[in-house]
């Protein structure tokens, strides 16, 4: 997938989280407390944790969409809240789990929204070309002229990923990028994300599949759903003990040379 038309329109900057606390809603339950970590350009982070652990909340806080209950998120030299929305749009792209498509729009038009919004220097024809190239990169080039409302879940998800990449912001925040994707397209995603970080970009993606996480990520952040977390390289985080604790099921790790495989021991339930 070296054909992916990666075009970063801002220089990548590191992301720092210091003593961040997150709540569900304004006064809801505590999701995470005292979360501190640094994400450097060129790294690919997998965000792991059980349902309701705060993965989406953390991603939207990092996107600047919601505020943290405590602590600070810095992007480069500035606190996230100090970034004007327009500049932030050139620095990070956010790919949510759910999309609204109330009115007809073709695939390429949907992708082109992100291009036009963040790269006004491109002509309309260039924006369309870039949009179509990204759709090809995610193997939905043939559906570029179709109404997005008629696409299947997995096809719509690939249009969404193409949209996030086409925005050209170095920091990609992906909320369950492999949701609805079949195996072939999950496999397709991995070299794309590697190429992204090779170009200097950063990936921060919430995922449920541990094998997927091991294969695409260089680092991992594991939320345990009780306010605790483990952060570090994938080798440090993706181990049986922290995973079994966080997911409350016995996870076993099979090592095969450099590779690791993860499976849940369904016969035994941990209490």
């Amino acid at each position: 997938m070296s054909a992916a038309p990666i075009r970063l329109n801002a220089s990548p900057v590191p992301l720092h989280l210091r003593d961040v606390a997150l709540r569900a809603g304004n006064a809801g339950r505590q999701l995470v407390s005292a979360l501190s970590l640094s994400i450097e350009p060129g790294q690919r982070w997998a965000l792991l944790g059980p349902n309701g652990a705060g993965k989406s909340t953390l991603l939207s806080a990092v996107a600047g969409l919601s505020t943290t209950a405590a602590g600070e998120i810095r992007l480069g030299e500035r606190a996230l809240s100090q970034w004007p929305a327009r500049e932030l749009a050139r620095q990070r792209a956010w790919c949510p789990q759910f999309w609204l498509d109330p009115f007809p729009a073709s695939g390429w038009e949907t992708v082109a929204c992100a291009v036009v919004a963040t790269q006004p220097d491109l002509s309309a024809a260039q924006a369309e070309l870039l949009a179509r190239d990204w759709l090809k990169g995610f193997d939905v080039g043939a559906l570029a002229d179709n109404d997005v409302r008629t696409l299947s879940g997995g096809e719509r998800q690939r249009v969404a990923l193409a949209t996030a990449c086409a925005q050209g912001a170095p920091l990609l925040l992906l909320d369950e990028p492999t949701a609805h994707l079949d195996w072939a397209h999950q496999v397709l995603l991995q070299p794309l994300l590697s190429a992204w970080s090779a170009a200097g970009g950063t990936v921060f993606a919430a995922v449920h599949d541990l094998n997927m996480a091991w294969n695409f990520a260089t680092h991992a952040l594991l939320l345990d759903g009780q306010g605790g977390f483990v952060a570090g390289t994938r080798e440090e985080v993706l181990q049986a003990a922290p995973l079994s604790h966080a997911y409350a099921v016995p996870v076993s790790v099979l090592e095969e040379g450099d590779a690791r495989w993860f499976r849940v021991d369904l016969s035994a339930r941990r209490d």
Binding site: G25, N26, S60, A63, G64, L65, S66, T67, S81, A85, R86, E87, L88, A89, R92, A93, W94, P96, F98, W99, L100, D101, P102, F103, P104, A105, S106, E109, T110, C113, A114, V116, A117, T118, D145, N146, D147, R149, T150, Q167
Partner: protein, 328 residues
């Protein structure tokens, strides 16, 4: 389903033919038959009425397109803001409280009523949307608030109208009902209406693309750098101006605001940058023709134009609805 590129050139050409044609038909057709009207009839009656009809249809269609975008609801129309009900209350109050036959009394009452309802709707939505202080999304209420505020204002005005209908005498009742149905008879103040529609279009059109992005989700639009709350207020303000002026001129004419943007979308003009101006054109043409039918069908008597626009609009809308559910 494959979407073809918007047929902009063809639409421009069609608009260039349809607008003069509709105006010509509107001017030529009269209660006494077909033909070029004499001086005073042309200048004092036919022309102001045709221009008012065009402006009313244009304003309602523009407002409809804007409200559909802002609420992400293809079935919304300008009246969800409660503006038309406000105007009705104003007009009915003027009809009932002021001496009969007072010059322009119901019209001015409608203007005031529309303004009051507009300000109320605007104030409430503005306040509800402005809460997240630094302009970020947070837990912003968004589309639901716009709809709820409109429904509440509409409900209050509906109760007021029912009350007035209950206590009105026979003669008042006749003019009340006529006003409620929507009617262009005697509508002559066309230029303030055209000015209002022009201002509304100028306000909204430069931000049309951002309104398109907003339909795909407030949070996502914000991550693209769109100041979500500001744009939403702008669109609602423009819709209030256009609706208020249209209702003050002609009463509550239904279905133009709902159907006109859909027809424009059906033709393939689906982006707000094309949707807004072509809704203006199509809404204007539609109402000029509907009004022409209304005043010639059973001449010398006149039908309220609301009857004609509903007679065309309801079947058309049901057809669209059917197509929509089949496309799923």
């Amino acid at each position: 389903m494959i979407l073809k590129p918007p047929p902009l050139a063809a639409a421009l050409l069609l608009a260039g033919v349809c607008v003069p044609a509709a105006l010509f038909i509107g001017l030529m057709a009269g209660s006494s038959g077909w033909g070029w009207p004499q001086g005073d009839i042309l200048w004092l009656i036919r022309l102001p009425r045709v221009l008012s009809a065009f402006g009313t249809g244009a304003g309602l269609a523009l407002a409809g397109a804007l409200i559909q975008l802002v609420t992400r609801n293809p079935l919304a129309d300008p009246y969800v803001l409660g503006v038309s009900s406000g105007a009705s209350v104003g007009a009915l109050l003027a009809l009932m409280l002021l001496p009969a036959g007072l010059f322009l009394a119901p019209e001015l009452g409608a203007v005031l009523g529309a303004l009051a309802a507009t300000s109320l709707a605007f104030l409430f939505t503005w306040r509800a949307m402005g809460k997240s202080g630094d302009g970020r999304i947070g837990n912003q209420p968004g589309t639901v608030v716009v709809l709820l505020v409109g429904v509440m204002i509409g409900a209050a005005c509906g109760a007021a109208v029912s009350f007035m209908l209950a206590i009105a005498n026979d003669q008042q009742l006749r003019s009340l009902v006529f006003w409620l149905l929507g009617d262009l008879n005697g509508a002559s103040l066309w230029w303030p209406l055209w000015a209002a529609v022009g201002i509304a279009l100028l306000l909204a059109w430069p931000r049309a693309r951002e309104l398109d992005w907003l339909t795909r989700g407030d949070a996502w639009a914000w991550t693209l750098g769109v100041p979500v709350a500001k744009r939403r207020r702008l669109a609602i303000l423009a819709a209030c101006i256009a609706t208020g002026a249209a209702v003050a001129t002609a009463g509550s004419i239904g279905f133009v605001g709902l159907v006109a943007p859909h027809i424009v979308r059906l033709v393939g003009l689906r982006h707000a940058r094309a949707l807004l101006p072509f809704s203006v054109v199509f809404g204007g043409v539609f109402l000029v023709l509907a009004d022409t039918v209304a005043r010639t069908l059973i001449a010398p008597a006149q039908l309220p134009v609301g009857v004609v626009s509903a007679a065309v609009g309801v079947p058309l809308f049901l057809f669209l609805l059917l197509r929509r559910s089949q496309a799923r």
